[in-house]
Amino acid sequence: MSEVEHIVQIPVGPQHPMLKEPESFMIDLRGEKIDAVRMRFGYNHRGIEKGCEQRTYTQDLYLVERVCGICSYSHSTAFVQAVEEIAGLEIPPRARYIRTLVAELERIHSHLLWLGVAGHEIGFDTLLMYTWRDREQVMILLAELTGNRVNYGLNTLGGVRRDITAEQMPSILKVVNALEERTKYYIEVAQTEETLRQRLAGVGKLSKEDAARLGAVGPTARASGVDRDTRRDDPYAAYADVSFKVITDQHCDVFGRTLVRVGELMESYSIIRQLLKKIPEGPILVKAPRKIPEGEAVSRYEAPRGEDVHYVRGNGTDKPERVKVRAPTLANTQAVAKMLEDGYLADLPIVIAAIDPCFSCTDRMIGIKNPGKGERRTMSWEEVSRYGVDFYKRKGIDPSRINLRGGSAA
């Protein structure tokens, strides 16, 4: 009697509770194990590249910043660097430092966010609560420095739009010091907490060869031993002026991807301290032309999720001829199918989450429309914060005792 093949097909997505953005995975399941995965992407395609061709360079800066809610600064910087190269603009050193500073703050908020999501996917929600509470400190700091939690609107052709004041330096250091202490604790948790190790080790295997062959980038590639980091290999902004280690790991699984990200957090703190020590005085902006000459440039940028590549071609007008964006998640999706193969269905959420696919956290309202009268008014950050606290108080939860600033909450 021949063995009957029992393969069950399970569609995961495009709308599913596991990921907060639409992607579709069709899973062939043999027993509890995944036999094959077919992926379909594009549900979030918004035509931004075409949109860029129809707008001026300055407008495009704000458009590309909205490619992604988490790595908004990555896309904005990758784009502006390419345009500046075509225009032959040399931005002031102080602007290079400020760009690097915000880039690293963005990496910190992104990696802490990931750590929480990873904890959540494996049922370790305490880790989610801890890391997201810590992350709030860097979000508040980014809002203080740039005016917003995400989509900072900081870059402009020829430099940056806001300076870092001398008074802001100590508050940056304070946040960095507090988060460094917390990250040391997370490293200890990752290395010694046996349930975490057992849940993550051996899950979502990706060999070094496969990582390189399938074009994986960022922490996903580095956790498979691929020693690649654009910040070191093709330095931009002020990365040539600071020293840092490229964190790699040989575990080739979700556990390794966790170690790489917490390790990178420590490097980011060190980079920020060096930047604050070395930041030169001077202007933050050079005058940029409205029309960008004919020419082309590729800009590479190490976003929190991996290398972000922007290609820009100018045609002598104030609008680009072509803008091409390759976000890191697109490069990593190719490796996901490999990671899932022969794994358990129950591991699917954490394996997919482990490449840190991008979703938007931009749902922050400041402009408020009065539904009755159509009036608009603006709430300050303090008002928004107080509104949130009162909202939960009415529901019987009192979060006002949580001290987000001090890091020593009850």
Partner: protein
């Protein structure tokens, strides 16, 4: 001599037809223009002979009568070689998936957004346009125009105000 310059000289020595077609834009940025028939051998030499083992992405360009393709190849040490070729619209190019299996998603993007034809691409779902998007409409072509929202197959719910006016004939309501 810089490493980037060395790569340029190596390429021009090995492929005489590339003389004058390799440009060093700056440190770590090379731009190479090759005719379509020469492109595969240059590509293979870059990958196998010169260690450009990382295909960052493929950019497609609408150049009027032709489509342009730029293969952005990188190697350890940060050098990026951008290999550009052109192909008349309607003709097909060869896939690079035998060397880079992960490139299929970039090539599908060229097919959907620019109407490129890629020979040898393994079967799979389209990317990134919706399944019901017309196969002859390629939004990144310069002469492509967005349809007016009044047309029923405009594809999005952007004209939300006018959406529920009348039930579309065959349940073709856009429900995105």
């Amino acid at each position: 001599m810089s490493e980037t310059e060395t790569v340029r000289i190596e390429l021009e020595t090995k492929f005489p037809f590339l003389a004058g077609a390799v440009r060093v834009q700056r440190e770590r940025r090379l731009w190479i223009k090759a005719a379509q028939e020469n492109c595969p051998q240059v590509f293979e030499h870059l990958v196998k002979g010169l260690g450009f083992s990382n295909l960052c992405t493929i950019t497609g360009l609408d150049l009027g009568a032709e489509l342009g393709f730029i293969y952005h190849l990188a190697r350890d040490g940060g050098i990026m070689a951008n290999l550009e070729m052109r192909c008349p619209k309607g003709q097909s190019i060869r896939t690079v998936t035998p060397l880079f299996p992960g490139a299929s998603i970039y090539e599908r993007e060229l097919e959907d957004l620019l109407g490129a034809k890629v020979d040898g691409l393994p079967p799979g779902p389209r990317y990134p346009l919706p399944d019901d998007w017309p196969t002859d409409e390629h939004p990144l072509l310069k002469n492509w125009k967005k349809k007016e929202p009044s047309e029923p197959d405009a594809g999005t719910a952007s004209g939300a105000a006018s959406a529920p006016t009348s039930a579309a004939p065959k349940g073709e309501t856009s429900n995105e």
